[in-house]
Amino acid sequence: MNTVEEILDFAIDREQQAADFYSNLAERVSSAWMKDMLLGFSKEEMRHKGKLKSVKLGDKLLNADQHVQDLKIADYTVDVEPAEDISLQDALIVAMKREKAAYRLYSDMAANIDDPELKSLFLGLAQEEAKHKLYFEVQYDEQIMRDN
Amino acid sequence: MANAIQLLADFGRNFTLSDIREQRVDLAFCKAPKEQAVRLIRELRDDAGYTHLVFLTNTDYIEQGIFTLTYMLHNYDARHTLGVHVDLDRNAAEMESIHNLWAQAATYQRELREMYGIRFPGSPRLDEDFCLEGWDQIPPMLKEFDTAAFSLERFHSREGRGSVDPSEHMKTLLYPTHSDEPSSGGS
């Protein structure tokens, strides 16, 4: 991955994989409700994908300097298995952690590259993922930890 | 005045007094039968020092079908006021006149005739209009006379008036379907 185009394609592909992950899981669950939730997650990932596609056409990514709040919820929750009887709480944990992993990935890539243009691209992607994580963390805070 | 009650007890030997009640040390009430009232009042004036007729008025107890006259008498020396009540049948309200006892009594009686329709036979100028000229309704102080209805019928109201009840207004706008339809026929 040496060009902006290649990196964006990689990122777009990852979002597609995430969307597929949720829609596959949705196929397997038996309840109308979790199916609806997971298809919603999948749709969210497709939205991310669409965002990156428009970056490819010239839109700006998030500025690397812009602060994205880290609620650190993902850091201290345990890993859960995406099983067929998954609950909303666990689905949100899976999602937060996936976004966090993606954020790590791009951050690491940015650290290992010298080209300033690509570095800032990776940092920008990392920021996007941080924002996605924040979205799921806020939902976890609102829907799951309502009383805490 | 502790002796107001004593006084009424003394009078009670010659009169059938009831509902004796002391409101204040200087104010008491009692009730006398219609037939005895004027004689009682005269004796109170002449023998007991109640020389001042403070006022004469009437209270309408429409629910019980009675009028209650109040003769408010005052004794200047004893500094005591005594209200003598007399119940009248609301449908045949007539009372002995006291215009011979106090000069202003005729005016009170004329007013009571006009405002409540109570008759005081022999009272001077009884049937002359007092406050009302050309009055074509029932006596206006009767409880059944509805002043608001009369004024709505007689006078025109300003256009553009009309008020909205706050909770009804909020219901109409905010939750119109949240009410039970009037139940029809048992279900």
Binding site: - | Q23, R24, D26, L27, F29, T51, H52, L53, V54, F55, T57, N58, T59, D60, Y61, T70, M72, Y76, R79, T81, G83, H99, N100, L101, W102, A103, Q104, A105, A106, T107, Y108, P124, D129, F130, C131, L132, E133, P140, M141, K143, F145, T147, A148
Partner: protein
């Protein structure tokens, strides 16, 4: 007691029927006198009222207890405060609410200021009725100074609506006492002037002495009260005989006279104005500066007064003013009867005194009795 005047045959041509009022400068307020005259002499008089009838007592039966408070002041235009006080007092007695001491002092101040203002207007009236309209200009101006005080104290000049069941509606404004003292000084000075110009006036003396003489034995049979009674030699004043508010803590003299004519009645009132100023100064000196001015009240919107009845009276400028109220435990009163002194002074008494007087004196006689028609009609 009631002695009808001898029958008069109008068709005989000896008599003239003359209507004085209902709009007449010599009549206090809107009422009319139907006079039968023979030459200058009045041989018969009938009082006609009703021109101001608004049915207050009836109106009050369909208003809640708090809603009546703005109504009552209208029963005596130049002297609304007595109605406010008495209405408040009956409601307080029937509900067991006690107005706090500070309110009682403010109420007394109010009533005496009102008395002074009302007497000033009357003083102008008696002057004007005997051709001394300058006095009228002076006194009405000074009454205006007092109305200024009422305006700043209560928010209104005439219908103060200030004494409310439970107390009064607000504290005295800042600096009120000083301004009040200043007005009292001015009124006092004026009174001395009026004494020179009116009471020491040969015309006034000649016309008023002997006019409208009320024999002492007529007083109780006609229900005569107030200055009209005191000028006939009776030492009766409710502020002394049945002290209310803080009158038992005030020093003042009871004014009486013996001649019982128009001059004597005027002179009694004149001296009472001085006594009023004396009481007002005491009120100002001793007015509590803090503490509540209203008792703890229930929610007045649905105020139910326990069943009962009472009668409370006060000494107003004209005599015994009283409220008789009957309640039945509901949010509305069952009956209120307002007893105003004019009821008998302007009708039974006037009709009696007018006979034998001169037409030119009718206005002065009327004013000397000091009557207000709205308290007759209620």
């Amino acid at each position: 007691m009631f002695e009808p005047n001898p029958p008069i045959d109008l068709s005989s041509g000896k008599y003239l029927k003359l209507w004085q009022g209902p709009q007449h400068p010599g009549i206090t307020g809107n009422m009319s006198l139907e006079l039968i005259t023979r030459g200058d002499e009045v041989v018969d008089c009938k009082t006609h009222v009703g021109y101001l009838h608004r049915g207050f007592e009836k109106l009050m039966e369909r208003r809640t207890f708090i809603q009546n408070f703005p109504v009552v002041c209208r029963i005596a235009v130049p002297e609304p405060t007595f109605n406010e006080y008495l209405y408040a007092a009956v409601v307080e007695e029937l509900t067991g609410i006690e107005s706090p001491p500070r309110a009682e002092w403010i109420r007394t101040l109010n009533l005496e200021l009102m008395r002074l203002a009302s007497y000033l207007m009357w003083l102008g009236g008696i002057g004007a009725a005997f051709g001394q309209s300058t006095v009228y200009q002076w006194t009405v101006t000074h009454r205006d100074y007092i109305l200024d005080l009422f305006e700043e104290m209560t928010g209104a000049r005439i219908y103060h609506m200030y004494i409310v069941p439970g107390g009064v509606r607000g504290r005295l404004p800042e600096g009120f006492e000083d301004r009040c003292r200043d007005v009292l000084n001015r009124v006092e000075k004026l009174l001395h002037d009026v004494e020179k110009v009116l009471f020491n006036n040969v015309v006034f003396k000649t016309r008023t002495k002997g006019l409208g003489h009320i024999p002492k034995e007529m007083v109780d049979p006609y229900g005569i009260t107030g200055p009209n009674q005191r000028a006939a030699g009776f030492s009766r004043d409710l502020r002394k005989d049945a002290p209310y508010l803080v009158y038992d803590q005030l020093e003042f003299d009871l004014i009486t006279a013996t001649e019982s004519d128009t001059y004597a009645r005027s002179w009694v009132r004149y001296l009472e104005m001085h006594e009023g100023i004396r009481m007002l100064r005491q009120c100002l000196d001793r007015m509590p500066q803090d503490g509540p001015f209203q008792a703890k009240m229930p929610n007045v919107l649905h105020w139910e007064v326990p069943a009962g009845e009472t009668y409370i009276k006060a000494e107003c400028t004209r005599g015994e003013y009283g409220y008789y109220m009957v309640t039945d435990g509901s949010e509305y009163l069952r009956r209120v009867h307002v007893r105003g002194p004019s009821y008998t002074h302007a009708i039974a008494l006037m009709e009696k005194l007018a006979v034998g007087t001169n037409i030119a004196d009718i206005a002065g006689l009327m004013v000397s009795l000091h009557t207000y028609p709205p308290e007759i009609e209620r």
